[in-house]
């Protein structure tokens, strides 16, 4: 039998993982539903966001500047997202091999940025200061305030994203373009502008996630590689497309992974997760929450 403490510890670490994954995967899923491409550079966006924030806050040297650092990083990621959409995605829009070609081009962007980060910031290990310091007691166990912050901020960010897509004109425009680009054009929606906004938004989400993760882990150019694989698994689990499905799947995977780490160990957890994924796909090829599409 598992003790109550062990259970709370598991729950908390699962929630932290789930929060990180949910923010990461929702950006990936947003780009997929709107542009119909899979962005393999999404993971390196995460690392880049963390590095930019590190540079800004390190130069300033004050915790007070961390908010500024986040803002700068977010702005930088938005710009980069737009640039990348323009250069390596838009030229292929509407081509029959688009999915395959953009997998290639975004992989190339990943290689480029990962190496670029390594050359620019060097091999010395870095860590971001936590946004909030100290310890917090939660469910009878003590965790770092940063972890508690992540658990709280993720649902807020995701709710904001949902509200944006649901209530604002631009958000609805993004959904419209994803669901029927031709009909969207005929009511005066500029599809390219929506694509750019989507890509920028997704890059910002990735960058912000990187900042959160960057104070829990050491910064490396490959910071986002492993979360990216998890995000893939999540997006499949979530049934590709619906934001709610993706977010739900992210928390489930986070909790399952935390459970697997305590039971089968850190190294076997990814394999076990993958086997579960395959088992689920064999039973439900459309994902856990997905609808069967003709």
């Amino acid at each position: 039998m598992m003790s109550l403490d062990a259970f709370s510890a598991l729950l908390v670490s699962g929630l932290v993982l789930g929060s990180i994954y949910a923010m990461m995967a929702s950006g990936l899923s947003l780009v997929w539903t709107t542009l119909g491409i899979f962005n393999f550079a999404h993971g390196v966006f995460m690392a880049l966001g963390a590095y930019v924030a590190w540079t800004v806050s390190d130069a300033a040297g004050l915790n007070l500047w961390l908010g500024f650092a986040i803002a700068m990083s977010v702005a930088f990621m938005a710009g980069l997202g737009i640039l990348i959409e323009r250069t390596v995605v838009r030229p292929f829009y509407g081509q029959r091999d688009m999915l395959l070609i953009t997998v290639m081009t975004t992989l190339a962007v990943m290689m480029f940025l990962e190496k670029g980060i390594q050359m620019l910031w060097g091999p010395r290990l870095k860590q971001l200061r936590p946004i909030v310091e100290g310890k917090v007691s939660l469910l009878g166990i003590t965790i770092s305030a940063q972890e508690a912050f992540i658990i709280v901020i993720a649902p807020l960010v995701l709710a904001a994203l949902w509200a944006f897509l649901r209530w604002t004109s631009t958000g609805r425009g993004i959904r419209a373009v994803g669901q029927n680009p031709d009909a969207a054009k005929l009511i005066g929606i500029n599809a390219s502008a929506m694509f750019a906004v989507t890509f920028a938004l997704s890059a910002v989400l990735a960058g912000f996630t990187g900042i959160l993760l960057g104070s829990l882990r050491l910064l490396t150019p490959g910071l986002g590689a492993e979360p990216l694989i998890k995000a893939f698994i999540i997006v499949i689990f979530g049934g590709m497309g619906s934001l709610a499905g993706t977010i739900g799947a992210a928390y489930i995977i986070g909790l399952v992974e935390a459970f697997l780490i305590t039971t089968v160990g850190f190294y076997w957890a990814p394999s076990a997760l993958f086997i579960i994924l395959i088992a689920v796909l064999l039973v439900r090829p459309e994902g856990l929450f997905g609808r069967r599409v003709a």
Partner: protein
């Protein structure tokens, strides 16, 4: 100076990839007119609307809307000017709710201030949409979807509407309802270009009608003028079978 023509298309050639569908089409729609466009399938009616609304670019020819040249402009620019194309069998946005879709449709700057007024108008015109307002588009019936599609066009604050086969696949009863609604819309001073396969539907609504055949306009029929059924049959089945 107000132009007396809402839409003037002259000598438009357009098509897809490497072949032309339209072989030089010219037509006019007056500022207070309802004009029908009639002809068999695959003879270029939809292509013509696409070329006007900017979905495809005409290779040759001019399109003037309210006096401005719009040939080759983006669909967004055309919508911004108030020329709204309601496409055929529009699936709209499958996972969006009816009300959301209508609100979204007031997307361009021009339409935003008129959003709530237009929304009232649409819901008054199609009360059925009000009942369905929380439903997703994909759950609507064919008739409801057509109403929503026209409603979406109205939300763009149109200065002119182009409707592509609004009665496609509808029952006679629904067709009549729709004819009344479209009639009401044009009463408010919105000129219409109506593409239809149902000749009686066109005749009941339009002041004037063009016959399209093989990517060309072959005849113009005014209201009151006798429509030769023989001739229409000829268009459909070719001379040798007439």
């Amino acid at each position: 100076m107000t132009p007396d023509l809402a839409l003037e298309v002259s000598g438009v050639r357009a098509g897809y990839d490497s072949y032309d569908v339209l072989m030089g089409v010219s037509l006019k729609v007056g500022i207070n007119e309802r004009v029908g466009l009639f002809g068999p399938n695959g003879h270029g009616k939809t292509t013509l609307l696409n070329a006007i609304s900017g979905v495809i670019k005409p290779r040759v020819g001019n399109v003037r809307f309210m006096g401005d040249e719009i040939a080759g402009k983006s669909p967004q620019a055309v919508v911004d000017r108030g020329l709204i194309h309601v496409p055929q069998a529009n699936l709209l946005f499958p996972q969006m709710e009816v009300m959301e879709t209508l609100e979204l449709a007031a997307f361009c700057k021009r339409a935003k201030p008129e959003k709530s007024a237009n929304l009232d108008k649409v819901l008054q015109l199609f009360p059925r949409l009000k009942e369905r307002r929380r439903q997703q588009c994909k759950t609507l019936s064919g008739g409801e979807r057509q109403m929503l599609s026209i409603g979406v066009g109205l939300m763009c604050a149109p200065k002119m509407l182009m409707l592509d086969e609004p009665t496609l696949g509808l029952s006679p009863k629904l067709k009549d309802e729709l004819a009344v609604a479209i009639g009401e819309i044009s009463q408010t001073g919105i000129p219409l270009l109506l593409v239809e396969q149902d000749i009686s539907f066109v005749l009941s609504l339009a002041d004037r009608m063009y016959l399209v055949d093989h990517g060309e306009i072959t005849r113009e029929v005014s209201k009151g003028q006798d429509v030769d059924h023989e001739q229409i049959m000829q268009m459909y089945f070719g001379e040798e079978h007439a």
